[in-house]
């Protein structure tokens, strides 16, 4: 979103506001009225950085907080397009590492992992041009690996313009080399969402559905938070910026509320997310607009079959901290507003 930055009347954007502090203060200010939030802290077990050196039993990383060295054990799983021995990681690979709580031993390492989620606008056999929409990174080029084409087409049978796609792969210069489907393709065109359920009275709490992750883009590496699909349309991302000339395949802001009705929140609001597969939960702040998630009325089958619809688009760090495996793409989740 490229909007009037930081205006109380405009669209909120944590990254582009000159006063991001006002978003951070919101939970504190809320507490003066409604009392302390019931926070569920999460153990910090993830590290984002770049590989400096890989030795048989250790891996050295360069991170924003300085260099770190982690122990590689026989239980360490590394992924770069597929599961590989940790020794095959290369210097210069961008990695996300989850280590065992309280120990300096790497549990999982994801190298060069990327994801493209959006509407297909052009196809040329195994090459796709995908529009991620105004809240994400615009247009992305996806090349599907020959060996992965069949697997992806099994879950995304309509690789045609106008249909949705969500694939995981490795980041290359200028494109994503897709190696596996993140979820299954919704059966409708991106501009033709099913009607939202009509709920009378109060919204059910907690909301149930799918939690997914997104690439950091312009976000700070290691940011713990989520892109929320239902930001207050009056002060947040209720509409695309009228000031831009960019044409999007589908503007999620005008696509309706999606198939899960979620309470309207704002940047800085706190929500409690629970990974039902790993049985881990955390209180996280809303850090950006996740309107694009409303386009996907899909299910996650990471552990059990989740109810339809995406309730949170987590930052890569938050997803890993909550016990999610990035290559799986999603986990079954419940969400409740904190407080």
């Amino acid at each position: 979103m490229r909007q009037r930055p930081g205006s109380p009347d405009g669209c909120d954007n944590l990254l582009e506001s000159p006063t991001p502090g006002r978003f951070i203060r919101r939970s504190l200010l809320r507490e003066t009225v409604f009392g302390p939030l019931d926070r569920h802290p999460v153990a910090r077990t993830s590290i984002t950085g770049t590989v400096v050196e890989v030795r048989p039993h250790t891996i050295s990383l360069r991170t924003a907080a300085g260099d770190k060295r982690l122990i590689l054990s026989p239980r360490t799983v590394a992924w770069r397009g597929s599961v590989i021995p940790p020794a095959r990681l290369r210097a210069g690979d961008g990695v996300v590492v989850r280590h065992f709580p309280g120990r300096n031993v790497a549990e999982r390492i994801w190298a060069r992992i990327g994801r493209v989620t959006g509407t297909i606008i052009e196809t040329d056999r195994s090459e796709l041009l995908v529009d991620e929409g105004p809240t994400r990174r615009g247009r992305q080029l996806v090349r599907i690996e020959a060996g992965s084409f069949r697997q992806i087409q099994m879950r995304f049978p309509r690789l045609e313009a106008g249909f949705l796609i969500d694939v995981i792969g490795t980041r290359q210069e200028g494109y994503l080399r897709a190696v596996k489907p993140a979820t299954a393709q919704p059966p409708y065109r991106a501009d033709h969402l099913p009607a939202a359920p009509l709920i009378s009275g109060h919204l059910p709490e907690p909301a149930e559905g799918t939690a997914v992750w997104h690439e950091p883009g312009e976000e700070t590496p290691g940011l713990l938070g989520l892109a929320y699909p239902a930001l207050d349309p009056e002060t947040n991302c209720g509409h695309a910026d009228a000031g831009t000339d960019e044409a999007y395949a589908v503007d999620p802001h005008t696509a309706g509320p999606g198939c899960v009705r979620l309470p309207y929140l704002s940047i800085g609001s706190a929500v409690e997310i629970r990974n039902e597969c790993a049985e881990r939960s955390a209180t996280l702040p809303v850090t950006s607009c996740g309107a694009a998630a409303r386009l996907f009325c899909d299910r996650c089958v990471a552990c059990d079959t989740s109810p339809r619809g995406r309730i949170a688009d987590l930052t890569i760090t938050a997803f890993v901290e909550l016990g999610g495996n990035l290559e799986e793409g999603c986990f079954n989740a419940t969400l409740r507003t904190a407080g």
């Binding site: 951070i24 919101r26 507490e31 009225v33 926070r39 802290p41 099913p194 976000e219 009056e234 940047i267």
Partner: protein, 300 residues
């Protein structure tokens, strides 16, 4: 003779009936366009056009319905009888005839799409009921082609018969309309406050009429809030202020009820807050959220 008079009257009433339906359809589409802030949001058969033509197609459909609805009403009586009435009614036949064809194609190519005939109410996928209804309206438009100018029934029994025809026709249309069930649901619908849309200005107006505002407004430095945000059923507005010689932030929480909302208030000592929340002034470059309190915990 009497039969012919009744038949003539039954044909005459098709004109206002069609006019009301056309104007209703146009109003519902306009309401949807205003609510979603986009007329380009596809409405039924406009989805068959390329994306760049959605907006013009939607405008043409709305304008046709409005023009023909008004035209039918204006030419229903003696005024405009003759060629103008025939022209308007012929165009109405063309519109409904085109609609039957377009809905058939829509059903084949986009089985999940609603007809969009009455905006938000018409999200149910096109089925035989929708198609039959449109074909019936096309028939009504054909019947109205040569109908005389609208006039009062000659006798009470004639009026009863015409009314009966109208009631039966409307009942059939209702039975063929998936929108009717949607209307019934919405009549008993209580919108959850968590998803109720209420302009910020309205919340601030309600705030300024509340006792909490009267209690604190003399302590406020500005009358405009420094920040406004929403969490579920509550909208928050923060004002900088001075209280007992100390800088404070006055936080008002306004419930998102359209009338006489509940208002709560809280005070934050700005100086004390800056001491207890070191993350606010201590954001390092590139760090947008406070650092975790400890190595093993992370909160807001």
């Amino acid at each position: 003779m009497w039969d012919n008079a009744v038949l003539g009257m039954a044909r005459e009433v098709q004109v206002p009936l069609l006019a009301v339906l056309l104007l209703g359809g146009c109003a519902a589409k306009a309401r949807r366009a205003i609510r979603t802030r986009s007329i380009a949001r596809e409405m039924g058969p406009t989805a068959l056009f390329p994306v760049r033509l959605h907006r013009p197609a939607a405008i043409v459909v709305c304008a046709s319905e409005l023009g023909l609805g008004v035209g039918l009403l204006v030419t229903a009586g003696q005024f405009g009888a003759g060629p103008p009435a025939l022209a308007v009614r012929s165009l109405t036949v063309v519109l409904f005839g085109t609609a039957v064809g377009a809905l058939h194609v829509l059903r084949t190519r986009r089985p999940a799409a609603g007809c969009g005939c009455f905006g938000d109410l018409s999200d149910t996928p096109v089925n035989w009921r929708t198609l039959t209804r449109t074909a019936l309206l096309c028939g009504a438009a054909v019947a109205a082609l040569g109908a005389p100018a609208l006039h009062m029934p000659a006798s009470a029994p004639q009026a009863v018969v015409v009314l009966g025809v109208l009631v039966v026709e409307v009942s059939v249309l209702v039975a063929l309309s998936p929108e009717f069930a949607e209307v019934m649901v919405r009549l008993g619908y209580n919108e959850p406050c968590e998803v109720r849309r209420l302009p910020v200005a309205r919340s601030l107006t309600a705030l300024r009429a509340s006792p909490q505002w009267r209690q604190y407004h003399r302590n406020l430095i500005t009358r405009e809030p420094a920040d406004v945000w929403r969490e579920g059923c509550w909208r928050f507005a923060v004002f900088p202020g001075m209280l007992a010689g100390r800088r404070v932030e006055v936080v008002f929480a306004i419930h998102l009820t359209p009338r006489r909302p509940q208002v709560r208030v809280g005070l934050l000592d700005s100086l004390a807050a800056s001491r207890t929340l070191p993350a606010i002034p201590r954001q390092r470059q590139g760090e947008l959220l406070p650092a975790p309190a400890g190595e093993d915990s992370a909160v807001l």
